[in-house]
Subunit: 409 residues, 2 copies
Amino acid sequence: MQKIIVNKDFEIISGGITYPQGIKASGLKCGIRLNKKDLALIYSEKLAEAAAVYTTNKFKAAPLIVTEDNLIKSEGKLQAILINSGIANACTGQRGLEDARKMVDYVAEGLSIDHKYIAIASTGKIGEFLPLEKIKKGLKEAISKLSDLGGKEAAEAILTTDTTKKEIALNFKVDDKEVRIGGMAKGSGMIHPNMATMLAFITTDISISQELLKEALQKVVAKTFNMISVDGDTSTNDMVIVMANGLAGNPTIIEKDSNYSKFFQALHCVGEYLAKCIVKDGEGASKMMEIEVQNAMTFDEAKRVAKAVINSPLVKTALFGADPNWGRILAAVGYSGVEVDPEKVDLYLKEKIVENGQPLKFSRQELHQYLSSSEEIKIVIDLKRGKEKATAWGCDLTYDYVKINTKYS
Amino acid sequence: MQKIIVNKDFEIISGGITYPQGIKASGLKCGIRLNKKDLALIYSEKLAEAAAVYTTNKFKAAPLIVTEDNLIKSEGKLQAILINSGIANACTGQRGLEDARKMVDYVAEGLSIDHKYIAIASTGKIGEFLPLEKIKKGLKEAISKLSDLGGKEAAEAILTTDTTKKEIALNFKVDDKEVRIGGMAKGSGMIHPNMATMLAFITTDISISQELLKEALQKVVAKTFNMISVDGDTSTNDMVIVMANGLAGNPTIIEKDSNYSKFFQALHCVGEYLAKCIVKDGEGASKMMEIEVQNAMTFDEAKRVAKAVINSPLVKTALFGADPNWGRILAAVGYSGVEVDPEKVDLYLKEKIVENGQPLKFSRQELHQYLSSSEEIKIVIDLKRGKEKATAWGCDLTYDYVKINTKYS
């Protein structure tokens, strides 16, 4: 896999969620899955400001309901997150909610912290109940193994059909204090019976008010995690959580000053990096595409166009076939629902190949070569309507996608 | 292919667009495509009331713009339709419009009718110009071959990657007069470089006012052609045209009486039949799914839910794998954008398998057998919110879909 490039102002270093000060984690096999790690615990020594963004799916899974409830009760504070893979605890009704609350109980008891400071997440098979005894037993071990080197194991334990773990760590300065930020994520795909779920956990030792942390997370998610698509399906279990424990010792960020900006950029960098990791490791994906829509009237308009293109099965299969099929891209722009003027649209694929809605002369063979030999394809669409832009990331649609998602469970 | 069942009040007989009185057609090879028929002509002896529905894609192809213009000038009257396959004449700018107008010129000259009574349609590769000389020469032959037995050849000439021609004919009585209606369609897929285009042409000898014909067509298209999806992509060239020449001799239908109802039912039957033919012959499709959403607040709401399900790649691949993966169906319901109450939703797949959002006990193995052995799968989703319903039709997502759409052109 080629290196993912995001904001060049930040150097991405080796590490993950346990990189910030005072963050410990562990990951292990508790027996939900066959011979794979399936339980991860994240713990902050100090109670942290926190914020979360949840799936918009109406069938919101039990762990999300319980987590949202806790974050409201604690007014945005968290100290621990327990995550299991293998079973999603979705579409499980009242018993599912009770099971989710029991997961919280176990953590509260094991770590001697208040229930409301605990978040939980699940990913995997839906409509099945959690094996609570296994989780309870596994949690004891997870607590005993909590370590500032445990990020890697935790990052492994949250995976499902992902082929690689997804971690990031970076640091920056706030008033001469080094601030650290780390993150991990899991992408799409669940073997049995296959739910695409996206989970991401971000930790930092920055000191920041809960209000600004929440606002920063929401804005970053809107421009990173919410701009990716493997197959257009929105899971019942999607969630992104951030915890900031303040141990960096910087003066607490309470307004949108230059320190806030720096943190925002770093958080954006983490979000974009993890989002790109997810797309690159999308089910069956062989190539990533980045769609930049320029000169739209609004961000939402640019987003609609970009998402229509990344979700088009015809564009996705063309990308898999390294086919410079610009007509499919324009067609997706045309049905995006945005009032584009076809006679104004320019399209760039390595070079400008469509101007004012009509094809320029270009070598199909050269473009085919370029598409064949690149893992990351950038497509720019200029609508010439306004000044806003949006970038979205997607992947190709391959035989392997069909294979992964076809298997009878 | 199993027999397609639509409204049982109508008997579907052998035949197509030339079944109604006074309708002639022809289809032949004019040389746009390699060794395949690529030019079709439909002619009504008598000037016909007509109506059309066009793609909503902003990149509307030149032939649609010219046809719409003609229908406005003629106040909804047509006498001939010329269709070519192989090249879509889309994204071809000013020259494309001129070429489309030239196609109209040739027909006007060859058949000695006014330009405004002529519709044209193209399907195939986009961004390429039409070989006008071939079309001009081919049209001469097409005119000489016009015949009331020519429907079959015409139905063949409009196909692209379709594997079978799609035709229907039926009759019914209006005040003791036999009224005939016929239709043909082409579905999704274009070999090189692949544009999914849906075209349908319906002819009838009923006598009906243009206003009612237009209203009936719009309503029928909304509930039939617009309720199918092969891959969620909307082509630049989609169009449905109906012509009614009045030769059946019935008293002209000028109000919404029982005769109008009967015609509406027949037109609906033709639309549904052709729409189902298109889905069944969708690119790479091995199975058709019918999604009925019941008890929604509005038709639009039911439609949104039904379309979210038929367009979900995860549902489509599960269907291909004969996997009774109800969780993916519920997840699609949940992200449809409709304010469903998850704790009320029932789901039927052969039997009721989800009640109030939670799975009932059922045999996965039996359902797998059922899905494996059926070409048509019916899924019913009960939202328990209101009294409206909608039905949508889709197909599975298979290796062949990827194969067909991946080939480098």
